[in-house]
């Protein structure tokens, strides 16, 4: 990017002693000190610290690339710019390659998502929401790290709306068909979960559990073979769709302008390839961040997988029990512990935990009571990944002098809360956000992620229409008032 940086005040001070760098260093020192403190109490906290440090690295890279996955789908319709869609595809390709290596080495922690209509519907609601919040779930975290309080508000809205969605009962239960209630009742579940009460429980036990979630290799019965993992999961499910999407983005959004600028009337194949390369490298920061995020996301799975093997566990809950923490575990003595990049579930746990402290208990829901638990945020390993993203983004933003406290206006605050709530509802229906339900799935051979992307694209398209209408309407109204 062509940045003409002119700031004479900072030239004289040595790099390390500039105010912003000192602040960045102190945030980093805080994380290091906290890590050492945790390790000095019990070395087993290293399992949680892996989440912290990977989160920190994700945050730094997201901020460095100004990575905005919301704009990946939104900008295609809003302004016809493919920059972030390209960055996201680069990250998917890299993650898929590293994930293949990790799976072949036997350290994959991945679980496929159930395939069904709920993904499209949830993803569309999620995609509609991100247009109004100005960022996806991860995007809001890292923008909060840049000092944007509007994004912090989005995170709060996502947390509480999810917690309410998964535990609400009463009139909500009328939203689900009776056949699901019967199917849920037929599941052999402990009575304390009350699976036939609470619409999300009925939806989960009566619908989701009867759907299949598989990887492409499993569909063809080749899940155990290297050829299945490499060709079906990685190549067919990730690399090939990425290549097709990149070619489509080039053809529809970039080609015409590129050929006009380079003055080529009769382009050869070489020119077209050069054009595609130019599209991918148009924003160097974004491309670098895409590569880094892809590789790190794969490595994250590997490191967690190795640690699980080392401690002989399947879930962080077992480690918590061994360390003497039994509060907030699910009835299976587990907690949410995906082992890879994930955003929304831990935010739901924050919301649920606070609601529990306020006297609204939701441990009778499947989501918290059976699957994810409601651990204290101080023991919530993936939760620390989210905090890591905020802190990592703060470190990077401070060192690049891009940190700025930004308070929301009433309008953006309204959009943040409404949009964040919609994102929370959508993420729960679709069983994840654009990270958990798209980025982590397609790269591990689960085709349901492409369905999510499709749904999110529809939602973003409608969202852009509504947002544009709102802007035009409010501008026209204002202009009318001024007598223009």
């Amino acid at each position: 990017m062509n940045m003409a940086t002119t700031s004479p005040a900072t030239v004289d001070t040595p790099w390390l002693f500039r105010k912003n760098n000192l602040q960045a260093m102190s945030v980093l020192m805080l994380v290091i000190a906290g890590s050492l403190w945790a390790l000095s109490m019990d070395t087993r906290w290293v399992y949680l610290l892996v989440y912290v440090w990977f989160g920190l690295a994700y945050g730094m890279l997201l901020q460095y690339g100004r990575f905005c996955m919301a704009s990946a789908v939104r900008d295609l319709f809003a302004v016809k710019v493919p920059r972030m869609a390209v960055g996201m595809m680069i990250a998917v390709a890299l993650y898929a390659v590293v994930a293949a290596i990790v799976t072949l080495a036997g350290f994959s922690t991945f679980h496929p998502n159930a395939m069904g209509w709920h993904i499209i519907i949830g993803a569309a609601i999620f995609g509609f929401g991100i247009v109004f919040t100005g960022g996806c779930a991860s995007g809001s975290l890292y923008k909060a790290g840049e000092g944007n309080m509007n994004s912090m508000l989005v995170v709060v809205a996502i947390s509480f709306s999810q917690a309410i969605v998964v535990s609400a009962s009463g009139w909500w239960d009328k939203l689900v068909p009776q056949s699901w209630v019967e199917a849920a009742a037929a599941q052999d579940m402990p009575a304390e979960l009350t699976v036939t009460e609470g619409w999300f429980d009925i939806f989960t036990a009566g619908h989701i559990w009867n759907l299949k979630g598989t990887t492409t290799a499993e569909i063809f019965g080749m899940a155990e073979s290297a050829a299945g993992i490499v060709w079906l999961n990685t190549f067919l499910t990730a690399i090939l769709p990425v290549a097709i999407i990149l070619v489509a983005l080039y053809a529809f959004y970039y080609r015409k302008g590129y050929l006009r600028r380079s003055g080529k009337a009769a382009p050869t194949l070489g020119d077209e390839l050069a054009g595609m390369w130019a599209m991918c490298t148009a924003s160097k920061n974004t491309a670098i961040a895409g590569i880094g995020l892809g590789i790190l996301a794969g490595l994250h799975m590997y490191v967690t997988g190795v640690l699980r093997e080392h401690y002989g566990i399947f879930n962080f809950g077992e480690l918590l029990v061994a360390m003497g923490y039994t509060n907030g575990l699910s009835i299976q003595e587990t907690v949410f512990d995906p082992g890879y990049w994930y955003i929304t579930t831990q935010e739901a746990q924050w919301g649920g935990w606070i609601m529990q402290k306020l006297g609204i208990d939701s441990m009778d829901s499947i989501f918290f009571g059976l699957d994810n638990g409601l651990p204290n945020p101080l023991l919530n390993a993936p939760g620390f990944m989210s905090i890591g993203i905020i802190l990592g983004a703060a470190v990077m933003a401070l060192s690049r002098r891009e940190f700025k406290w930004k308070l929301p206006s009433w309008e953006t605050a309204f959009f943040a809360i409404v949009g964040g709530t919609l994102m929370g509802i959508g993420a729960r229906l679709a069983m994840g956000c654009n990270i958990g339900a798209f980025f982590a799935t397609v790269t591990n051979g689960d085709p349901s992620g492409w369905v999510f992307l499709f749904g999110m694209t529809i939602g973003a398209y409608i969202g852009v229409k509504v947002f544009t209408w709102w802007m035009d309407w409010s501008t026209a109204r204002k202009a009318g008032e001024c007598g223009l």
């Binding site: 990017m1 062509n2 940045m3 003409a4 940086t5 002119t6 700031s7 901020q63 690339g65 100004r66 990575f67 905005c68 919301a70 704009s71 939104r74 900008d75 809003a78 302004v79 016809k80 710019v81 493919p82 920059r83 972030m84 247009v131 919040t133 100005g134 960022g135 995007g139 923008k143 840049e146 509007n150 959004y253 302008g257 600028r261 148009a282 924003s283 920061n285 974004t286 933003a397 891009e402 700025k404 930004k406 308070l407 206006s409 009433w410 309008e411 953006t412 309204f414 959009f415 852009v464 947002f467 544009t468 802007m471 409010s474 501008t475 109204r477 204002k478 202009a479 001024c482």
Partner: protein, 132 residues
């Protein structure tokens, strides 16, 4: 009988229309009252600025997007570029790093020349020239 029904129908529609309009106004007033962001930041101006790397530029519009979340800066820029003449230069002021990053690509898509980005203490100024 028929006309009676008809007039009832008219009355209902009239009432519904009134309710709808007044709600709309109330919502709009609510935003208006609390608004800190300028929705029409684009009154015509004429100002000369020295931009490092691009020389002296004559601006016709300055789009103030301070505090705005995406996609507002992009959409406002699109709108303003639609109103100026080819060859004229506009300035976009933003403190949203993600929006700033996307502006060179945005300029290409909007058929204008991206001239420069100047960094100030806590925001960026970007200069775009509309192509003919």
């Amino acid at each position: 009988m028929f006309s009676k029904e008809n007039s009832l129908w008219h009355a209902m529609c009239f009432k519904a229309g009134n309710v709808l309009r007044s709600t709309q106004m109330q919502v709009a007033d609510w935003f208006e009252h609390f608004r800190e962001m300028r929705t029409v930041p684009t009154d015509p101006i004429v100002r000369d600025v020295d931009v490092p790397g691009a020389g002296r530029l004559r601006l016709v519009r300055s789009v103030d997007c301070l505090g705005a979340m995406c996609p507002r800066p992009q959409l406002l820029t699109m709108k303003v570029l639609g109103e100026v003449e080819p060859g004229e230069v506009i300035e976009v002021v933003s403190d949203n790093p993600a929006a700033v990053e996307g502006f060179p690509a945005l300029a290409q898509a909007l058929n204008c020349t991206y001239l420069a980005t100047v960094r100030d203490a806590d925001h960026w100024r970007m200069y775009l020239r509309k192509s003919s």
